[in-house]
Subunit: 172 residues, 2 copies
DNA sequence: GGCGCTTGGTTCAAGTTTTAAACAAACCTA
DNA sequence: TAGGTTTGTTTAAAACTTGAACCAAGCGCC
């Protein structure tokens, strides 16, 4: 089968995207390393934890949300734990499980550094986009996501937003 | 000054973008590592070299195009040289300079692996975007780029032979 | 219950990459 | 020619990632 090369338009888009994502990730890492002492991925872990009702998530759930391997997550959480931002707990309902819980200190770091992070994201991105473009970005991002990890429409179980088979009693 | 948090729309866009870029870079790295024995960044270096008329670029020019530090580039080129994909040459006009030149072997690797790479980019991205979205992606990417590295409209210096755009078949 | 298969998560070893700082040589300008 | 800048490399230390191997606990099934 003959290769379908990128059209000039696609090529421009591709290059713009690659350059932009490199610069953006760099800027984010630098800012967060500076202000929070951790790279973007680690900050994101804390952020995700902070959003669940109990500020904790099963390792596998967290890994899936972050789109990283469990192994990578284990390493990251180990560091976050060493730094006191996260605490590991045993899962009561599944003895194999581990739950990563945001500590008060971790939450404090998040609260202290979130404004700077948001400011960076704005300065690097949203301040330069029209509302339409924001919508377009979401749509494009969503499509890539769908393309790259089977579009298994695994809707979150409505009752328990924060878990795999839980930290909570299994619903029957 | 009070923090301007992200609006719900911005937040959705941001998350979609972060997830997508992680997945995309991962997929690309995996495919290229598999087929070409090198990660995306390294492939991109070869690709950029292949596009110049003489298949060679000054280290600094290359670093600027790639949006990476010279130090990082030195490391990368060292490996590419060890693998025989690139050769370092002294720059005749500036004795401080080093020129990275694509070897025939490097070119061969590129030609052999480009189809697979393009296929991956299509499968992960362009096959799921409308032509309008391709344009939108370019525009958004360009804006980020401009935002993050001063918009010095540095047009290519007129004199130097291999700092000019390519006429060759697009390999990326 | 007991036998396998799957899942959750960690560990391990090895390698890869990154960063920042320091440096030397060459260039440039006055 | 002195002084400042640019080029590119070196260095040393960290940080990160990967993949495979592994164990323990759940699950299904007869």
């Amino acid at each position: 089968m003959t290769t379908r090369w990128l059209t000039p338009e696609e090529q421009r888009a591709w290059r713009a995207y690659v350059a932009a994502s490199l610069l953006l990730e760099d800027a984010l890492d630098r800012q967060l390393q500076q202000d929070a002492g951790m790279p973007h991925l680690y900050y994101t872990i804390l952020a995700y934890l902070s959003e669940t009702p109990e500020r904790r998530l099963r390792m596998t759930d967290l890994a899936e949300r972050l789109k990283i391997t469990r192994s990578r997550l284990t390493y990251a959480v180990a560091r976050l734990e060493k730094d006191g931002h996260v605490r590991r707990e045993a899962c009561r309902w599944d003895k194999r499980g581990t739950v990563a819980a945001l500590t008060d200190e971790g939450m404090a770091v998040l609260e202290r550094t979130a404004p700077g992070h948001v400011a960076t994201v704005r300065a690097a991105l949203f301040d330069h986009l029209t509302p339409e473009q924001v919508g377009q970005l979401e749509e494009i991002g969503t499509r890539i996501e769908r393309a790259l990890q089977g579009d298994d429409a695994e809707s979150a179980p409505e009752g328990l937003p924060w878990l795999r088979r839980s930290v909570n009693p299994p619903l029957l």
